[in-house]
C-alpha cells in the first residue's frame, strides 16, 4: 500500500476524534447527573474538564492542518480532513452545552430543583446514544446509519416539548417558580441542541463517503413546527 505514513496519520486523527467524542459524552452525562444530585463540586469539575475538551479539539485541528499542508489530500482524503475539521468543532460545541448545564447547576446555589429530573436525563441518554452511533458511523463511513440517526432527533424534540409543557404548568400554578423553571428549560434546550449537532456530524459522514453535500433533516424547522 502506497502512502503508509499518511494512512497511519489518518488513523491517529480518527482515534483522536473518537477520544474527543467520548470526553464529550462523559461531560454531557456528568452534567445532568450532577444536576440531578445538585452536586456543585462535580459541576465545577465539568468546567475544568471542558478546558481539556477544548485542548483536545485544538490538538486535532493542528494535526489536521499539518496533514493538509504536508500531504496535499485530494478527493476522499480531502473530504475526510475538511469534514473532520467541522466535526471536531461540533463536538467542542456539544461540550459547551454540558458546561452550560454545569454553570446552571452552580448558579442555582442551594435552591432545590423545581421537580425531580425524569425526562432531562432521558434526553441526555438519548443524545449520548445518538452521538456514539454517529461517531461509529463516521469511523466506518456507514452511510446508511448516518442517514438513519438524524430521524431519532424527533424523540429528543418530543422529550423537550414534554419538559416544556410540564414546566409551564408549574409556572402557571406558582409564578414564583419562573426562575427555577427557566433554569431547567435552559438545560433541556441545551440537550435538544446536542441532537441537532449529531445530525450535522451525520451529514458530514454522508459527504465523506459519497461527496454529496445535503441536509439529511432540517432539525430547526421540525422543531419550530411543533411549538
Amino acid at each position: 500500500m502506497l502512502r503508509k505514513t499518511f494512512e497511519t496519520e489518518l488513523q491517529q486523527v480518527k482515534d483522536n476524534v473518537l477520544l474527543l467524542g467520548s470526553m464529550v459524552e462523559q461531560s454531557i452525562l456528568d452534567s445532568v447527573e450532577s444536576l440531578k444530585k445538585r452536586d456543585i463540586k462535580a459541576a465545577e469539575k465539568i468546567l475544568q474538564f471542558d478546558r481539556e475538551i477544548n485542548g483536545k479539539r485544538f490538538e486535532i485541528e493542528n494535526q489536521l492542518m499539518i496533514l493538509i499542508a504536508t500531504q496535499q489530500p485530494m478527493a476522499h482524503d480531502l473530504r475526510l480532513l475538511a469534514s473532520t475539521m467541522e466535526i471536531i468543532s461540533e463536538l467542542e460545541r456539544m461540550g459547551d452545552y454540558a458546561k452550560g448545564i454545569a454553570n446552571i447547576n452552580i448558579r442555582m446555589g442551594d435552591q432545590p430543583l423545581l421537580k425531580p429530573l425524569i425526562d432531562i436525563p432521558r434526553m441526555a441518554q438519548k443524545d449520548v446514544d445518538m452521538l456514539h452511533r454517529a461517531l461509529t458511523a463516521f469511523i466506518n463511513e456507514d452511510v446508511e446509519a448516518a442517514r438513519a440517526i438524524p430521524i431519532e432527533d424527533d424523540e429528543v424534540d418530543a422529550l423537550y416539548n414534554q419538559v416544556y409543557r410540564e414546566l409551564m404548568t408549574f409556572v402557571i400554578q406558582d409564578p414564583k417558580s419562573i426562575e427555577r423553571a427557566n433554569w431547567l428549560l435552559w438545560v433541556a434546550h441545551n440537550l435538544e441542541r446536542v441532537a441537532d449537532r449529531v445530525t450535522n456530524i451525520c451529514e458530514r459522514t454522508v459527504f465523506i463517503a459519497t461527496g454529496e453535500m445535503t441536509e439529511i433533516k432540517d432539525t430547526d424547522d421540525e422543531f419550530w413546527k411543533n411549538q
Binding site: 500500500m1 502506497l2 502512502r3 499518511f6 496535499q72 489530500p73 485530494m74 478527493a75 476522499h76 482524503d77 480531502l78 473530504r79 461527496g211
Partner: protein, 264 residues
C-alpha cells in the same frame, strides 16, 4: 492539394478527439479516446507514466508523424476539420497548434531571433520589433529581457528559457498551445510563474497541458482528463470532468486512487 483549416471558430470546442487510436507500428499506444477541448480553457491530461499522455498530446498537432511507423485511427477535429484528412497540411497544423516541451529548448540564437525566426519563415510581414515585444510581454518575460534582446537565449535561467519558448510559440499566432510537462524541470517559483502565465494566456489561447504534478493540474486547469492503460497496455481516457470535480469527488475508483496517491 491541401486546403486551409477554417480560421477563428466560435464553437465551444476547438479540438475534439473522437474514437482516437494511436499505433507505433503494431503497438497500440492509445485506444478509444474521446476528448473535447474547450476554447479559452486549460485542459490537463494526467495519469501514471506510460499511459499515453504525451502520445495523445502529440496527436493534437500531428507531431507523432515525425516518428516512423506511427498510425492513427478515429479523428481529431480542429475548428470542425479532421486534422488527419489528406487535404490538411501538417505544417499549418503545427503552427496553428503550438507546442512547448518539458525541457526548455531555445534555439542557440539571440532572444530576439528565437521569436522572430518562426514568424519570418511563416511569412510575417508586419513590424518584427513590435511582434517580439508583444510575444515577450504575453509570456511575462519582457521586463526581464528587454535590455538584452541580442543576448543568447541559452544565457537565460531555466524558467526564463521556458517562457522564451512560450513566447516563440506565440510568435506564429497559434490558437492552441500544447504543453508537455512545461514546468517539470523548473523550481517552484518558476513553476508558479508558468502557471500564472497560463491563466493570462487562456484569455486568448486554448491550452492543453500534460503534467505529472497533480497539484499543478488541480491549481492550473479547468478540465482534467485522467488516462490509464487497459489490460492490453493501451492508454485511454478513463474519466474526464471539471478539474474541481476530479480532485474532490471523482467518479472512477482508479482516478480516486491516483489523485489520492494510492495507485499502484
Amino acid at each position: 492539394m491541401t486546403q486551409p483549416i477554417p480560421q477563428n471558430g466560435t464553437s465551444k470546442f476547438v479540438l475534439e478527439a473522437r474514437s482516437l487510436g494511436i499505433y507505433y507500428g503494431n503497438f497500440r499506444a492509445v485506444i478509444g479516446v474521446h476528448l473535447p477541448v474547450e476554447r479559452n480553457k486549460i485542459t490537463a491530461i494526467i495519469g501514471p507514466s506510460g499511459c499515453g499522455k504525451s502520445t495523445l498530446l502529440r496527436a493534437f498537432n500531428r507531431m507523432n508523424e515525425l516518428f516512423a511507423g506511427t498510425r492513427i485511427e478515429g479523428e481529431i477535429n480542429f475548428e470542425g476539420q479532421n486534422l488527419y484528412d489528406p487535404s490538411v497540411d501538417p505544417v499549418e497544423v503545427r503552427y496553428r497548434i503550438g507546442m512547448v516541451f518539458q525541457k526548455p529548448n531555445p534555439f542557440p540564437k539571440s532572444i530576439y531571433e528565437n521569436i522572430a525566426w518562426g514568424a519570418r519563415i511563416h511569412g510575417f510581414k508586419g513590424n518584427m520589433d513590435d511582434l517580439v515585444e508583444s510575444c515577450l510581454r504575453q509570456s511575462a518575460l519582457w521586463d526581464e529581457v528587454k535590455d538584452k534582446l541580442k543576448q543568447s537565449g541559452l544565457a537565460l535561467s531555466g524558467g526564463q528559457q521556458q517562457r522564451l519558448c512560450i513566447a516563440r510559440a506565440l510568435a506564429v499566432q497559434p490558437e492552441v498551445i500544447l504543453m508537455d510537462e512545461p514546468a517539470s524541470a523548473l523550481d517552484p517559483i518558476a513553476t508558479l510563474k508558468i502557471e500564472e502565465l497560463m491563466q493570462e494566456l487562456k484569455k486568448n489561447y486554448t491550452i492543453v497541458i500534460v503534467t505529472h504534478n497533480m497539484q499543478q493540474a488541480a491549481r492550473a486547469s479547468d478540465y482534467t482528463a485522467m488516462m490509464m492503460i487497459n489490460d492490453e497496455r493501451a492508454g485511454t481516457v478513463i474519466e474526464f470532468d471539471e478539474t474541481n470535480r476530479i480532485f474532490t469527488n471523482p467518479k472512477d475508483k482508479r482516478t480516486e486512487d491516483y489523485v489520492t496517491g494510492r495507485f499502484g
